[in-house]
Amino acid sequence: MAASARWNHVWVGSETGILKGVNLRRRQATNYLPAAALRRDQGVCAMCWGDLAESEILVGCLDRSVKLFSAEKGKFTESRQCPGGEGPFCGLAVHDSSIITCVESGLLKVWQDASSENVEIQVGGGVCRMRQNPAWPLCVGTGGKENALKVWDLHRPEEPIFRAKNVRNDWLNLRVPVWECDLQFLPDSEKIVTCTGHHQVRLYDPSSPQRRPVLEVTYGEHPLTALSLTPGANSVIVGSSRGDMAVIDLRQGRLVKCLKGFAGSVRSIHCHPTLPLVASCGLDRFLRVHHIEEKRLVHKVYLKSRLNCLLLTSCEKWEDEEPELAAPQADVKEEEDDLWDVMETVATKAVPKRRVHPTGQEPQLDKRPKKQKRTSAGP
């Protein structure tokens, strides 16, 4: 059980409060329940990785509890209550052992282990999504209905470091409504891409003096509910409430292609960091994995409940990894080492790093912390 939970490719959180691990190679889905019985008030509304090795998952539930799921042990290990504010979680992030949560009413909180020094930020009501900057974990972005994009530095919670300005009035000189549904930070730059409920995809650049979006694209006629950056970060995949998913180029602002096969609203999209794969789930109770280049539907899994959010592992040996190899090794640490071995041999960026080291063959245990640092710095 423990080993099989580790080798799941996709983790999906459902409306009925179940965390589902899907192994695409074996084509099987496993349910992991937080409690003994199913409860609808424990519906998953936010998920994020608990650590960089992707062995732990933080699950935010509708009843304001945040649970820690250990993929190694295959069960929920910790649970804590995060009260305050109103509405469900709209974002969850982790930074050094502290948890960052954001609820719909606009209360963003950093939960440290010592509960006295919690940072609280009021980001404004109607928040739809809060996301962390992967390159700089202390930086989060928020956006929502009538709540324009704001970027916060958690060390200086008084003022946002970037506050977006609404676009100019339209041709009838009427105010354009604001409704940021999802956002993501572009790696290697300060840019932020958002999608709105008024079917626009916008690109903001905090480094430029302009606070208005530098690029705006419209797609379809229905609200865009989720987005994810493709591996090259040149384009973004957006999903709509009608079940349309499209790849939009961020350099030219052009629709590149559409990914088909959906029956209902898309709730969450997640791209693989290196492979051209994208996983998506939504109200039609299916998990779908598309090949981005070929537009092909690679996997389609029926998961029985309405699905709210998902996480896709970044492990690169996607199809051919053998779970049985890891099974005999009882020690968890060794297993982790194995994972790092696997990652090193495949990662393209690891090659220049290796050249820097005078000795090519270093003991693996020495290397581990260094690599963690590298991954935390972001690609």
């Binding site: 009925t16 179940i18 349910n31 199913l38 609808r40 409920g197 229905h222 609200p223 509910t225 409430s241 009608r242 079940g243 088909k260 096969g261 029956a263 209902g264 609203s265 109200l283 039609d284 109770r285 029926y302 029985k304 409940s305 309405r306």
Partner: protein, 354 residues
């Protein structure tokens, strides 16, 4: 047409038989009689090819139209003859075998060849049972609420739609017909909720013909949008019974097997109150066949222990699901749980969604 030309005809990869010129074998033999070494060589090479490609004759390749027509008729006649003879033979065989005859094969229909749908509900599945037990219809099925339905139409209904609404309200107990008065649905819904309505039915009409039905469960969805066709009012039904009584009817839901079908079935079930009054002997049927939902309203009578008679009371109509939306009616910002995309979904005739 000389022999040289005929040889050209025969050299094609697919060997053709020209019926109006007699059998092809003769033609193949002809070039051999011509004193030509090369021709003879070609014949010897071609000989095994004849065995590989038996004369495949297709009527459609005949270029003369009259001839083609004539040949087609003859071919059709011949086929019919063969068919009848075959049938007769089989019948004779069956009679000869008597009781020992093998059971008749089941005819192939697109329903029994249906493409397997992985969302087909397994009643023993714990997760789906829980999901259904706690969905938006759970208060009705737990007998916490009594259905109260508002029926209205699109703006300015004309004759048939108005009468259809009235007849629908006689079918569904505790339903109220209101004139739309040009109100927006998004403004009607909060008023309905405050007045404890549990469902809202909106009949859409196009040029006096009812063609759409929006069924919205209140207070928090879901909303289904159907295309409606073949509406027959009571007056237009032959051999109909007398006016229906005010008794609460029984409800029959047929063939709602998939997860989506279950949601739709539960939606229809929650329109009618629990505990039907069997004394009224009335039954409303929602029969799903090939994703079309047929509605019929009948009165039955048990004539004897074996025989039962039914009498249609009307109205009757057919529904086809177009979309199922989470939440109440919101065509602009609502989230769809299922939407029928014809280009993507209707790829196989044997694929059904309900």
């Amino acid at each position: 047409m000389g022999p040289r030309h005929r040889r050209l005809l025969c050299t094609g990869a697919v060997w053709r038989w020209c019926p109006w010129r007699g059998p092809g074998r003769k033609m193949a033999a002809e070039p051999g009689s011509v004193a030509n070494g090369a021709g003879g060589m070609a014949d010897s090479v071609r000989a095994p090819e004849e065995a590989l490609f038996p004369p495949a004759f297709s009527v459609s390749e005949i270029k003369n139209k009259q001839r083609r027509h004539f040949m087609f008729l003859r071919w059709k006649q011949q086929r019919r003859k063969e068919k009848l003879a075959n049938k007769k033979k089989r019948k004779k065989e069956r009679e000869a075998l008597g009781d020992k005859a093998p059971p008749k094969p089941i005819p192939k229909t697109i329903e029994n060849q249906r493409v397997y749908d992985e969302t087909t509900v397994d009643p023993t599945d714990e997760e789906i049972t829980f999901d259904e037990a706690t969905d938006e219809f759970a208060p009705y099925f737990n007998r916490q609420i009594v259905p109260k339905i508002l029926i209205t139409t699109s703006d300015r209904p004309r004759g048939r739609s108005v009468r259809f609404c009235e007849q629908l309200s006689t079918v569904i107990p505790n339903s109220h017909v209101y004139y739309r008065r040009g109100l927006a649905l998004k403004r009607i819904i909060p008023q309905c909720i405050s007045r404890d309505f549990t469902d809202l039915i909106v009949i859409n009409e196009d040029r006096k013909i009812p063609n759409g039905l929006v069924l919205s469960h209140l207070p928090d969805g879901p909303t289904a949008h159907f295309r409606m066709s073949s509406v027959r009012l009571r007056k237009e039904i032959k051999r109909k019974g007398k006016e229906p009584t005010e008794h609460q009817p029984e409800v029959i839901l047929n063939n709602f097997t998939t997860r989506l079908g279950h949601s739709i079935g539960r939606m229809f079930a929650s329109l009618f109150p629990h505990d039907p009054q069997f004394i009224g002997r009335q039954v409303a049927t929602f029969h799903n066949q090939r994703d079309y939902i047929f509605f019929r309203f009948h009165r039955y009578i048990f004539k004897s222990e074996k025989k039962v008679g039914i009498q249609e009371l009307g109205p009757r109509f057919t529904l086809k699901l177009r979309s199922l939306q989470k939440g109440t009616f919101d065509s602009k910002f609502g989230e769809y749980e299922w939407i029928h995309k014809r280009r993507e979904m209707d790829t196989s005739r044997r694929k059904f969604h309900l």
